[in-house]
Structure formats: structure tokens, C-alpha cells
């Protein structure tokens, strides 16, 4: 456990030392929110708000998490000898989830500042946001480990990642739409549980499959 936290701390320190990837993502985030604000300025309905919000999360997520293994290219051999693959993937999953959650909080603040709030943003909306974000971040972390082994990894990140996250994205978007339109919590619990179980599948598979990618 100690080692996992050390690895998370290492990622945090790397991001703190060369800040430009983080600021790059923040700028990217603000740019797409401003673009959507300009394009949807006067005719935004709650359903559109919801779809747009999740699309922005998707694009931010794929760009933010792409770096998680690509930045390790020079350190792979070193990490290979100091830590076991299970600990590395655990640390990466924890870090990308934290990173993504901070980004989502920032984006929801900017997004609702510009595009307004659709009305019903209750606690369940944030629970769903949290669960959906875990799914996206974990799936993209695993895809990043695959894409980092290839030659044109930036494109492959999107090609490989998008089809895989479609189940998560569809579930999360539909739950959040129901909540925004004022559905009671009892309507969405079974869908939320399905979303959670998809997350569990993805995280479990990451732990099983990552050692194979790491060894190659």
C-alpha cells in the first residue's frame, strides 16, 4: 500500500514540476466550453445541456488521461524494476480518477457559469457524475497503457477509447438526463447499479490485463 501511495505522489510531483500539461488541459477545457457557449447561446434546453456537458467531459477525459502512460516512456525500465505491475496500475487508476475529478469540478463551475444551470442539480446528479467519471477515467487509463506502446498514440487513444466507453457514457448520460428532468432517485437506482457494475468489470479487467501490457 505504501508503494502505491509513493507512486501516486510521484505522479503528483511530476505534474507539479512541469505544469504545462495541466494548464494545457485547463485551457482546452475552457476553450471547448466557450465554443459550446457561443454555438448554443440562446437555445439551450435541459436535454441539450446534459448531452453537451457529457461530451465535454468525454473530450476532456480522453485528453487528460492520455498522458498517464505516455509520460512514462523514459521511466518504463526504471519503474519495471522498482514496482510490481499491479501496484503501478493501482497507482495510475487512483491518480487519474483524482485528476479527472478535479477537472470535472472545474468544468462544471465554468460550464454552469456560462451556460446556466438546467435546474435540478441535486445530490444524485453528483453521485452519478462521480460514478460515471470513475468509469471513464479507469477505461481511458487502461487504453492509455495500450496506446503508449504504439507509434501514433494520440490518435489511437481516441480510436481505441471511444468505442469502449460508449456503454458508460450512454448509461451516465441517460441517468443524468432523467435526474435533470426531475426524476426521483428511486427511478435511477437500478441504472446506477448497472453503471457501477460496468465500472467494476473495467477496473477488474485492468488489474488482470495490465501485467501483460506492462511486460511487453
Amino acid at each position: 500500500m505504501q508503494e502505491v501511495f509513493e507512486l501516486v505522489y510521484k505522479d503528483l510531483k511530476t505534474d507539479w514540476r512541469n505544469r504545462y500539461p495541466v494548464f494545457g488541459i485547463l485551457l482546452y477545457l475552457s476553450a471547448i466550453i466557450i465554443i459550446s457557449y457561443m454555438s448554443f447561446m440562446n437555445f439551450i434546453k435541459p436535454e441539450v445541456w446534459n448531452a453537451l456537458f457529457w461530451l465535454i467531459i468525454l473530450f476532456t477525459s480522453v485528453n487528460a488521461i492520455a498522458k498517464s502512460f505516455m509520460q512514462e516512456e523514459n521511466r518504463t525500465t526504471y519503474l519495471y524494476f522498482v514496482a510490481s505491475p499491479v501496484k503501478i496500475i493501482a497507482a495510475k487508476l487512483i491518480y487519474s480518477n483524482l485528476y479527472q475529478f478535479v477537472l470535472i469540478l472545474i468544468s462544471i463551475v465554468i460550464f454552469s457559469l456560462l451556460l446556466g444551470s438546467p435546474g435540478n442539480l441535486n445530490a444524485w446528479f453528483f453521485v452519478n457524475l462521480f460514478v460515471g467519471s470513475i468509469g471513464l477515467a479507469s477505461a481511458f487509463t487502461m487504453v492509455s497503457s495500450l496506446a503508449s506502446k504504439t507509434e501514433n498514440n494520440a490518435t489511437l487513444m481516441a480510436i481505441l477509447g471511444f468505442p469502449i466507453v460508449i456503454p458508460i457514457l450512454l448509461m451516465a448520460t441517460s441517468i443524468s438526463k432523467q435526474l435533470i428532468l426531475g426524476a426521483p432517485a428511486s427511478d435511477i437506482t437500478s441504472d446506477l447499479l448497472t453503471l457501477l457494475s460496468v465500472n467494476v468489470i473495467i477496473i477488474a479487467l485492468s488489474f488482470i490485463l495490465f501485467p501483460f501490457t506492462w511486460k511487453s
Binding site: A139, M142, L146, K149, T150, E151, N152, L156, I159, L160, F162, P163, I164, I166, P167, L170, M171, S174, D191, T194, S197, V198, I201, I202, L205, L209, F212, T213, K215, S216
Partner: protein, 221 residues
């Protein structure tokens, strides 16, 4: 001497029966569907075949990861290729049929979307393979992606129908399907052999491609 295993003869017999029986045997007269109901013998088995081939491809990928034999990798890729072929054929036949019954080739039906996603995943699989040079690494990385993608494709089969209240497909959402009428037992007589026959044809195609790949591997082509 032509070496032909028994299941290849079975495939030929089944498919011959499907073509003759499927086009000539009586079918129930349903509104809108009419004679187009016969597409059931050709369109639906494609999806069964595709899922069977992708499952086999995923199993071969798991075998590759545990044994690291390059043969398993060849099996996995060729099975996935034939699976994609079946998926494309299923999609084209479905869109052609939908154009006449639903009025448009693509109506964002949950099953259509699902098949589009499945094809996207496996096209991505081939792009991934194309972008890694080293043979061992390509086999390993693509096997991992194959398993990962297959495991997320399966929940999709359960999720999409849940999200859509009704599908336009016959038998869903109150549309007349072949289950809803007494005459269905007659259609089943052709439908079940069709499913088995087309799936076997898929595996037959895959074995030919696999043999070809193994031979060209040995010759260093």
C-alpha cells in the same frame, strides 16, 4: 484426394437447404413485412455468426496471453476478420431491408447502434495492430485490447435495450415478429438450420484464412 471433414458437408447441406427452403417454403403473411420476412434466414444468422466468431477470437486472445504461441494470435486475428465480414454483411442486409419496411436505412434503432459500436471496436483493433511493428508486442497488445473490448461489448448487449423503450425490430416493442404467430414453427424449421449453417460457414472461412496465414508465416512471406 479432397480432404473434407464431416462438418463441412453439414454446412453445405444446411446452406443449400436454407437457400431452397428459405426462398420457397411458405411464410406467414404479416402487414408491412410480407415476403421480406424471409430476410430472417439471412440477416439474423449473420449476427449470431458474428458474436460466435468474436467470442472465439477473444478465447484465442486469452490463450495467446497464457501460452504466448504466435499461432493463437493468427487464430484470433483471422476469426475477428471473418467476424467483421459477417457484421458488415448483417448491417448491409439489415439496412437494405429497413429501407423498404421502416422507410429509411438507418433509424437509430438500439440494435443498429449496438452493431455499429461492435464494428467500430473491431476496426480499432485492426488499426491498433497496424501501428505496432514488433510482432510479439503487436500480438500481446492486441490480445489485451481484444479481451478488454469484448468484455465491455457484452454489457452493451444488456444496456442498450434497457435504455430504449422500444426497438423497431420485429418482435420488439409490440411489433409483429415471428414469435407472435402460430406459423412460426414453420419458420423455425429454416431459421435454426440457417443459424447453424451460417456460423459454420464463418468458421470454415476462418480456418482457410488461418491455414493460409500459417503457411505464409512458415515461408516467411
Amino acid at each position: 484426394m479432397l480432404r473434407t471433414e464431416w462438418w463441412k458437408w453439414l454446412t453445405m447441406a444446411l446452406l443449400l437447404y436454407v437457400f431452397v427452403g428459405g426462398l420457397l417454403l411458405p411464410v406467414p403473411r404479416l402487414p408491412i413485412l410480407n415476403e421480406t420476412i424471409r430476410v430472417l434466414y439471412f440477416h439474423v444468422p449473420m449476427w449470431f455468426g458474428m458474436i460466435a466468431l468474436f467470442t472465439a477470437s477473444c478465447i484465442q486472445a486469452i490463450k495467446y496471453l497464457s501460452k504466448e504461441q504466435l499461432t493463437n494470435d493468427i487464430f484470433s486475428v483471422q476469426l475477428a476478420e471473418v467476424g467483421i465480414l459477417f457484421g458488415i454483411l448483417g448491417m448491409i442486409s439489415g439496412m437494405f431491408w429497413a429501407n423498404y419496411t421502416w422507410g429509411e436505412p438507418w433509424s437509430s434503432d438500439p440494435k443498429q447502434n449496438m452493431s455499429a459500436i461492435a464494428l467500430l471496436i473491431y476496426f480499432a483493433y485492426f488499426v491498433l495492430r497496424g501501428s505496432i511493428k514488433d510482432e510479439q508486442q503487436r500480438a500481446k497488445i492486441s490480445a489485451v485490447y481484444n479481451i478488454f473490448a469484448f468484455a465491455t461489448l457484452i454489457p452493451l448487449l444488456f444496456i442498450l435495450p434497457r435504455l430504449a423503450e422500444d426497438s423497431l425490430h420485429p418482435g420488439n416493442g409490440g411489433n409483429p415478429g415471428f414469435n407472435a404467430y402460430d406459423l412460426d414453427s414453420q419458420m423455425r424449421l429454416v431459421f435454426y438450420p440457417a443459424v447453424i449453417g451460417w456460423a459454420l460457414l464463418g468458421f470454415w472461412l476462418a480456418t482457410i484464412k488461418i491455414r493460409y496465414e500459417i503457411v505464409s508465416e512458415k515461408l516467411g512471406l
